[in-house]
């Protein structure tokens, strides 16, 4: 796979590429669903960043008098069993979800890229062992793997992120490795080698940038799925623990207890999760269309 030149790609598609705003406008027109996804993601990130400005209530303060208060009035999305403002918890929960999705994706990709790059570039016994290791990790479904990881690491935010990141490693490593393998034989790599560049330098400077496109495609798809895995873990009692306002736990615990007594406790975190995952999926689709022409839709 060759380097994907973004603007050339756009130009080929008949766009009138004129700088940054131009390509943005083109993106919106060419990929309306992707644009919607981007807007949702932006809203999500901004909510996480400016949580303290957006919410007037503290997400941790309990108040017996408003236990299970209905939505409306001062507490626009109501209050949970402990009398904590649901809106505040969802807004602050965006931070947790952002940390989980970005944290797990970045961590998984970092490890996966390192392993895949080394494996593809050095080959030999290292590659052999790593490939078997990846085989082993892929012989369990992702949720089962995450479940065992989460159980062995114990409940905490960091551990949940690690537990979700590790099962992602083999997928990333595989893609990077196969790309590296084909790139290794490319003329420009041969040329770099001929002028005496060190292997590590070649790997980082020449090979890595050219594997970014499939990596980005995989990573954007992973963002949403990390949030879903966290909520499933929470449902099984293993996600991000209290006192962090995790959407997954808010949803799964309310769903287990108050699904009918206080439906707003279930509806709002559910909408938050679904909307963000939906947004990342829409965006991911568009990104894939742009970056991975082979699978163009």
């Amino acid at each position: 796979m060759a380097v994907v030149d973004h603007s050339a790609e756009l130009a080929r598609a008949g766009a009138n590429v004129r700088g940054w705003t131009g390509s943005l406008l083109f993106f919106v027109r060419r990929y309306p669903l992707g644009a919607i996804g981007a807007v949702i993601m932006a809203a999500f990130v901004l909510t996480a960043l400016f949580a303290d400005q957006i919410s007037t209530f503290d997400p941790f303060t309990t108040n017996a008098r408003i236990s299970l208060a209905r939505p409306g009035g001062e507490h626009i999305l109501g209050a949970d069993f402990m009398g904590r403002d649901v809106f505040a918890r969802i807004v602050y929960g965006a931070r947790i979800s952002l940390a989980v999705s970005v944290g797990a994706t970045v961590l998984g990709c970092l490890i996966g890229v390192t392993i895949g790059l080394m494996s593809g570039f050095f080959g030999g016994w290292f590659d052999l062992i790593v490939q078997r290791l990846m085989d082993i990790m892929q012989s369990l479904p992702l949720l089962v793997m995450a479940l065992v990881m989460a159980a062995s690491l114990g409940p905490s935010l960091t551990n949940t992120i690690i537990a979700i990141a590790i099962p992602l490693v083999p997928n990333v490593a595989r893609i990077i490795r196969s790309n590296t393998l084909s790139l290794r034989e490319m003329p420009f790599v041969e040329a770099a080698r001929a002028i005496g560049m060190s292997e590590t330098r070649i790997a980082v400077v020449h090979v890595l940038p050219n594997t970014l496109a499939p990596l980005i495609v995989l990573a954007t798809a992973q963002l949403g799925s990390a949030i879903l895995v966290e909520s499933s873990l929470a449902f099984l009692g293993l996600g991000v623990p209290e006192p962090h306002p995790s959407w997954g736990r808010m949803l799964s615990e309310s769903a287990a207890e108050y699904v009918r007594t206080a439906p707003w406790l279930v509806i709002f975190p559910g909408i938050a999760i679904s909307a963000v995952v939906f947004g990342t999926n829409l965006f991911g689709d568009a990104i894939r269309d742009i970056l991975d022409p082979r699978q163009r839709m």
């Binding site: 369990l140 949720l143 065992v148 879903l228 909520s231 499933s232 949803l251 839709m297």
Partner: protein, 315 residues
């Protein structure tokens, strides 16, 4: 071909041995063991008695010895005794497999029946309103937490029909059981069908752009004939692959759904066993799942090789 198969089988063996070591070590890294669990329900801990139980279960031995004991037993077909129920592990695992298998199969059928036709329609009508609607729908299928979907379905049944579709062991016939299981299967299959649909669509699109399709069109074949006779047949291969892999991975989705619909299958049992630190159950069950995944992957690859002569089987 024979060499390829032997090579693959050897690699499978290596993978499974590696898996056994990985799960064995990881389980022992999980804080607390069965003796902690046993004392938990008594609300106190008696250290002397705890040591005694650990000795009885062989948990005081070096980890390598424990591993060899397990694998040795496995070779002889002896899975050991479940810690919690104190029954042979095989008696705990085996009866729970059929119900999960039925559920997975139904979910798979569901995802194919829904996913493939919608994918084809979406591809043929690319960039029409219908295509957009179907794509958004499939994405929403991938965006809902599955336990949420399951609970919403349960609530709807209770609300509108005053009846709850949770598992019953005393259904009269196999058809009644299938009818009952089809509801949780639909909940799991919804997500898979979205995957299948998206894959069918992109696979179809790629095939539709191929030269031979253009040729067929140029030769005057009707649209319907081109779309369904020529294109679909060729698009089906990658779809089969993903369905095969998805089948093994349905287990992940089943964990949550079995909990919500109270289906006494292996997936939920695995979670319970992890919670109870019931090593013999977890180890053997995880190996069982790994074997299924590895074998399904192998079969899918093999099928690929057989179906598509363009693929060479040297790796």
């Amino acid at each position: 071909m024979a060499a390829y198969i032997v090579r693959r089988l050897l690699l499978m063996l290596v993978t499974l041995i590696g898996m056994s070591i990985l799960i064995f070590v990881m389980l022992r890294l999980v804080p607390g063991n069965i003796t902690d669990i046993i004392f938990d329900s008594a609300g106190f801990v008696n250290p002397a008695q705890k040591k005694k139980i650990e000795r009885q279960l062989g948990l005081d031995q070096p980890i390598a010895v424990q591993y060899v004991t397990w694998i040795g037993g496995l070779m002889r077909g002896d899975l050991g005794y479940a810690y919690v129920s104190e029954k042979p592990a095989i008696e705990e695992i085996l009866p729970r497999i059929p119900v999960t298998a039925k559920l997975a199969l139904l979910a798979l059928i569901f995802s194919i029946i829904i996913g493939v036709p919608l994918g084809v329609v979406s591809a043929v009508r690319q960039n029409t309103t219908l295509d957009y609607v179907l794509r958004v729908l499939s994405l929403s299928g991938l965006s809902l937490p599955s336990f949420w979907l399951g609970l919403l379905i349960l609530m709807a049944f209770v609300q509108f029909w005053g009846w709850i579709p949770i598992y019953r062991s005393d259904t009269g016939s196999i058809w009644e059981e299938i009818a009952l299981l089809s509801i949780p299967a639909a909940a799991v299959g919804f997500r898979s069908s979205a995957l299948v649909m998206r894959l069918t669509r992109s696979s179809m699109l790629e095939v539709l752009r191929q030269d031979y399709i253009r040729t067929a069109r140029a030769k005057g074949a009707s649209d319907t004939s081109v779309n369904y006779d020529h294109a679909l047949r060729n698009a089906v291969l990658p779809v089969v692959t993903i369905i095969g892999i998805e089948a093994a991975f349905l287990i992940g989705g089943l964990i949550v759904t079995e909990t919500v619909f109270n289906v006494p299958g292996v997936a939920r049992f695995l979670v319970e066993a992890i919670r109870w630190r019931d090593y013999p159950i977890v180890q053997n069950l995880v190996m069982f799942i790994a074997i299924i995944v590895v074998v399904v992957n192998f079969l899918v690859d093999l099928m690929y090789v057989v179906l598509d002569p363009r693929i060479k089987y040297e790796e």
